[in-house]
Amino acid sequence: MSKTVLYMSMSVDGFIAGPNVAPGNGLGDNGQRLHEWFLPDADAEHRTGSHLAGVNREVMDEAMATGAVVVGRRTFELADGWGGDHHDGVPIFVLSRRQPDPRLQWPGVTYVSDVTAAVNMAKDAAGDKDVLVHGARTARLALAAGVLDELQIHLIPVLLGQGEPLFEDMPPDHIELELLRAVDGPGVAHLRYHVRTAG
């Protein structure tokens, strides 16, 4: 059955972006450091990760084998909507309560206001494949709604010291996880967790 999986690169001190995230600075100051494991050069073809090998290649291939994407509007806009195609033309569901920006509309992109509805539509679209979840805010909403199944954390050996935390201001009932897999690639440890409790 299709699972929803958050893919996220994170520093050892729990940051997923540097400070001062803004349009044109989508990963915040120095935040690019977190993506160097698959994107050593900011101008490289990034999402296919064709230069990767070994464990990093396998993990990236898993992400690229997902059959749909659920993404928050902020992440989607900071990425300029990936030109309407995140990978292989799979359907993209953008979580947003506001009207779509006409410049960020493509045939494969659907704007949805409710996270559970977005996940259900994405799972339907993905068929047997998993659903890639993008963005910490969307992941937080999905966790609260009980519709996030797994977290694939790419743990980067760096201390950012400042920036955007993976999660903050969540409800005080903490969320239990179970480590499903841990593998080490060059410059990154890939930790995959199952969400045991949510909400």
């Binding site: 729990g14 540097g18 400042q162 440890a189």
Partner: protein, 195 residues
């Protein structure tokens, strides 16, 4: 020379206590969840191994907050090894047991290394760790990464300068699946890269 190594339990999302930590609630709301792995500290396996390493350190550096929140360990953290408490304001009452108060981070590091001899120095607390990092005196981090999302609380680091600090992963020890899932933890050891 003795290495100075931070030992710290941390949630996957980067918190070292739950929210609203205080003297009465030293781990904040729900924060004691982080310490379940210590239930296995005397058992064979990764957590037992790491805890044995903790107890093999020959000196302790602690920040003042951690020291007070831990009720000063009654002056003895383990085996009576010297405890160097980094503080801006030295308390008026005499320090208990093996405790010494130090106001200068470089002196603190040097004294702790000297006291540890052939052993290593363990660091307790985010405040001391940050001060040592800034001073270029923190050599390693051993983080006990607990598979839980606390979602709020005190973060390991959130006051460092914007220049990031590179680490090298040197070891990962993961709890076997057969152990109780509530006690699972991933012990990650990193070396701090010097510029």
């Amino acid at each position: 020379m003795a290495l100075i190594r931070l030992y710290m339990t941390i949630s996957l999302d980067g918190y070292i206590t739950g929210p609203r930590d205080s003297l009465d609630t030293p781990m904040g709301i729900g924060g004691f969840r982080l310490f379940n792995w210590l239930d296995r500290r005397n058992d064979p396996g990764p957590s037992g191994q790491v805890y044995t390493e903790v107890l093999a350190t020959r000196a302790v550096i602690s920040g003042r907050r951690t020291y007070e929140h831990a009720d000063r360990w009654q002056g003895d953290h383990h085996d009576g090894v010297p405890i160097f408490v980094l503080t801006h304001n030295v308390p008026d009452d005499p320090p208990p047991g093996g405790v010494r108060y130090v106001t200068d981070v470089h002196k603190c590091a040097a004294q702790a290394r000297a006291a540890a001899g052939d052993g290593d120095v363990m660091v307790h607390g985010a405040g001391a760790a940050q001060a040592l990092l800034r001073a270029g005196q923190l050599d390693e981090l051993e983080l006990h990464v607990v598979p839980v999302l606390l979602g709020q609380g005190r973060r390991l680091f959130d006051n460092l300068p914007a220049e990031h600090i590179e680490l090298d992963a040197v070891r990962r020890l993961t709890t076997p699946q057969v152990e109780d899932v509530a006690q699972h933890v991933t012990h990650m050891r990193y070396r701090v890269r010097r510029p």
